[in-house]
């Protein structure tokens, strides 16, 4: 015991320095995982919140229920739609804008860097308010432009398919900035000598891009793809603030399904089970990505 205390005393300072952060992470990240596993096997709801005696262990029932829940199926289908369309657009557009901005060194290029990054620092509610106005069927800018061109206005947030695409457009607009910065950082890291060598060999611009720049960006492309993928599987804030998942669940995502079951219907057990399904999907997709990247490297 004495030894333990003297040891503790010896390392007093590092422990004191990490203590606040570690305690907070434990309370709000680590412990919640175990709590979440626990309640996903119970019927915890608003009654259980008031009194823990009202909570019953129900085994796998929540998970079985999820398998049968048509709303959950729809949320999964919508999430796949978001990921399959949104992720390639984010990667392609952020890479393209990084390449274009990296083209010159004049002031105007750093100005564009700020412009393209601006949506990324904007609050999601403000974004929803502004885009809600732009998308408005009667008074929105977009339909006014279409009308001006002699075309019929669109039902941006009411049509089942178009509503999903409208949310993707907004999310892509917001996501370009941060990924563009990652690509720009990587572009700055490519040794100049590679380009000089290519120039001496008489390589065309396109060839330089194809055989030097893009291969050198391999790791950052992987990084951007995987973080974007993980982020979009959790697609949440956009449908939440823009459409609340409507019309009729057509823009609902898995993450929003979990939130609504948890906080709107107070079905905490059911929502926790849903969150684990989401977690498992994320882990599987991440592992597949790493696998594919490894195979790529071996070729």
């Amino acid at each position: 015991m004495k030894k333990f205390i003297s040891k503790l005393n010896k390392y007093k300072y590092p422990y004191l320095f990490i203590a606040p952060a570690i305690i907070l992470l434990f309370m709000f990240s680590i412990i919640p995982i175990f709590v979440s596993v626990g309640i996903s096997f119970t019927d915890m709801n608003i009654k259980g919140l008031a009194n823990f005696n009202n909570i019953d262990f129900i085994g796998l029932e929540n998970y079985i229920e999820l398998l049968k829940d048509a709303d959950f199926h729809q949320a999964i289908r919508n999430t796949i739609f978001y990921v399959v369309i949104g992720v390639p657009f984010v990667v392609f557009l952020s890479l393209t804008s990084a390449l274009l901005i990296n083209y010159g060194t004049e002031k105007i290029f750093s100005f564009f860097r700020v412009v393209y990054y601006a949506p990324a620092v904007t609050n999601i509610v403000a974004v929803a308010v502004v885009w809600g106005f732009l998308y408005n069927t009667n008074y929105g800018l977009l339909n006014n432009i279409l009308n001006g061109l002699g075309l019929e206005g669109l039902r941006w947030l009411q049509d089942p398919i178009l509503a999903k695409i409208s949310l993707i457009i907004l999310a892509v607009w917001k996501a370009i900035g941060i990924n563009m910065l990652i690509f720009l950082a990587a572009l700055k890291g490519i040794p100049k000598s590679y380009y000089e060598a290519a120039k001496i060999d008489g390589a065309k611009k396109f060839q330089t891009l194809r055989y030097i720049t893009l291969p050198q960006l391999r790791f950052s492309t992987f990084f951007v793809t995987i973080t974007t993928l993980i982020g979009w599987i959790q697609f949440f804030e956009e449908p939440m603030v823009m459409t609340s998942g409507g019309p009729l669940g057509q823009t609902n995502s898995m993450a929003l399904f979990i939130y609504q079951n948890g906080f709107k219907q107070s079905q905490f057990g059911y929502a926790a089970a849903g969150s684990f399904v989401l977690f498992v999907i994320i882990i599987i997709v991440t592992l597949i990505q790493f696998r594919m990247n490894k195979q790529d490297a071996w070729e």
């Binding site: 990490i18 709000f28 904007t122 999601i124 006014n144 720009l184 926790a272």
Partner: protein, 287 residues
């Protein structure tokens, strides 16, 4: 001979011209993209100075015909935006305490040896992979058990520290030479003195980046204020704005003014400090 030389300069000039044309095309492409990126912001700001009726004109006007501040006045005088603003600033201020916690942890992980260090650090990193949806419900239950629902503390606690920030601080502070600290210790400086008077001043570059990002994160924080604050007196700007959107569905000019209050301050701060953020990205080693 002479003709050959002029031909060479001619070819050089053509090459230069071609480069110029390339650059012009690039700038045109960037301009088109830039307009698309900025249109929502421009539309927001111009509309916020219109009368409620003018914002709903078909076809719309770009510049307000009779610019007015009535929307902004209404937000602060009739609605509770002053309270929301105050709460948002409190959240931001508390987030800076979180920043200090992150820096302290990063320093200890970067510069000290202690039992359990490796395990704890991996644990910190592992928290980055946990999706927020998984922890959302249990965190709510934990806060409820602690009696922190509908309190300012409950709003800020879940997002106060972040693994990625700790990681970045560790990377930076790990590079501070040991001799510096040893010298201070020999001179009889205490550990707190060393951290606050030596390490913090040296870490200015990373603190600048983290400080701006902390400000943005605190200002934009939405989910936890929404879940935890039931009482309007605890609403932050983002929650207040979503309330405004729900209650004034067709008053777009008012909505745009509310959105401008959220967006413009952050844009100004971002424009002033953007160089630090961009450079921070390059130096933080994300490649």
């Amino acid at each position: 001979m002479h003709g050959n030389k002029t031909m060479i300069t001619e070819v050089r000039k053509m090459k230069k011209d071609k480069m110029k044309i390339d650059k012009i095309i690039v700038i045109i492409l960037l301009t088109i993209g830039g307009i698309l990126m900025l249109t929502p912001f421009i539309w927001m700001i111009f509309s916020s100075f219109k009368h409620a009726n003018e914002a709903m004109l078909v076809p719309p006007t770009l510049f307000p015909k009779v610019p007015t501040l009535e929307n902004y006045i209404k937000l602060f005088e009739e609605l509770n935006f002053l309270v929301y603003l105050k709460n948002t600033l409190i959240v931001v201020a508390i987030f800076f305490i979180g920043l200090l916690f992150n820096a302290m942890a990063g320093y200890a992980f970067g510069k000290f040896k202690f039992p359990g260090k490796k395990f704890l650090f991996y644990m910190v990193l592992a928290t980055m992979m946990i999706p927020s949806q998984v922890t959302m419900i249990p965190v709510y239950l934990i806060l409820n058990k602690m009696g922190l629902i509908n309190t300012m503390l409950g709003i800020v606690l879940p997002g106060l520290v972040g693994a990625f920030n700790i990681f970045l601080f560790k990377q930076f502070m790990g590079g501070v030479p040991n001799e510096l600290m040893e010298a201070a210790r020999i001179d009889g400086a205490g550990e707190y003195y060393i951290f606050f008077k030596l390490i913090i001043p040296i870490s200015k570059p990373i603190l600048a980046v983290q400080g701006i990002l902390t400000f943005i994160a605190g200002w934009n924080n939405f989910l936890w204020p929404l879940i935890i604050a039931n009482d309007e007196k605890f609403y932050t700007l983002s929650v207040g704005l979503s309330l405004l959107k729900g209650q004034n569905v067709t008053n777009f000019a008012l909505q745009m003014a509310g959105a401008s209050i959220m967006v413009v301050p952050i844009m100004i701060i971002f424009c002033i400090f953007q160089k630090h953020i961009m450079e921070g990205f390059v130096t933080s080693g994300i490649k």
